[in-house]
């Protein structure tokens, strides 16, 4: 059974700081997706990465897929309170296998 470990588990920072969240798999990802989930809502897809070494940017968010496709990182530049939420990585084959999650709190 594939295990997706995310770190850190919790992150509490001030507005304007930078941060990086990590996702590591016990096996090679078929493809990797990152989601953000706000309180009381379902997860919302941020990005899909498929190719080892791939880098994608979404405004202040930068997503990197490891060369061996067993790890990924999400970097947020100049975090804002609106970035607060639960960040989830997921392996997407025919079903989603989610990681353990990183709960981010950004204070004004």
């Amino acid at each position: 059974t594939q295990l997706l470990e995310q770190s850190p588990q919790f992150l509490s920072i001030q507005e304007g700081e930078n941060l990086t969240v990590y996702c590591n798999s016990s096996s090679v990802f078929s493809s990797l997706q990152w989601y953000r989930q706000e309180p009381g809502e379902g997860p919302v897809l941020l990005v899909t990465v498929v190719t080892g070494g791939e880098v994608k940017k979404l405004k202040r968010l930068t997503f990197q897929f490891g060369d061996a496709r067993k790890d990924s990182s999400l970097h947020i530049t100049a975090a804002q309170p609106g970035d607060t939420g639960l960040y989830l990585c997921a392996d997407n084959t025919d079903k989603l296998i989610f990681g353990t999650g990183t709960r981010l709190q950004v204070f004004p």
Partner: protein
């Protein structure tokens, strides 16, 4: 376009009582999923439907959980009887087609179940 609709949003019941959750997917989405999410953790798949057929129910505790999607549109997830450990958020999601690298699932807001 309306998103995935779930009801109720919150449900509080006593243990051993039955409970049912309803989900209406995005119009035209053939694939429907039910997930369970414990506090602070990622969702875990319970069951996946392709139209009205359950194609993956390997993680569904069939002794107390059941689901149906009779006309291939909306779906109901039932727990009977509920146990304390069933307290969680139950998420429904839908996608236009079956799973795969470029398949995007759209999630509803979930039903938060509390079993007392």
């Amino acid at each position: 376009e309306a998103g995935v609709v779930q009801s109720p949003r919150y449900k509080i019941i006593e243990k051993k009582q039955p409970v049912a959750f309803w989900c209406n997917p995005i119009s035209g989405h053939n694939t429907l999923y039910w997930y369970l999410q414990n506090l602070g953790q990622g969702p875990e798949l319970l069951i996946r439907y392709e139209n009205e057929e359950a194609v993956d129910d390997s993680q569904l505790p069939k002794d107390r959980f059941s689901a149906e999607r009779l006309k291939g549109v909306d779906s109901t997830l039932k727990i009977q009887p509920a146990e304390l450990g069933d307290s969680a958020v139950y998420l429904c999601a839908s996608s236009p087609g079956p799973g795969g690298p470029y398949n995007e699932q759209f999630f509803g807001p979930g039903t938060r179940l509390t079993v007392l």
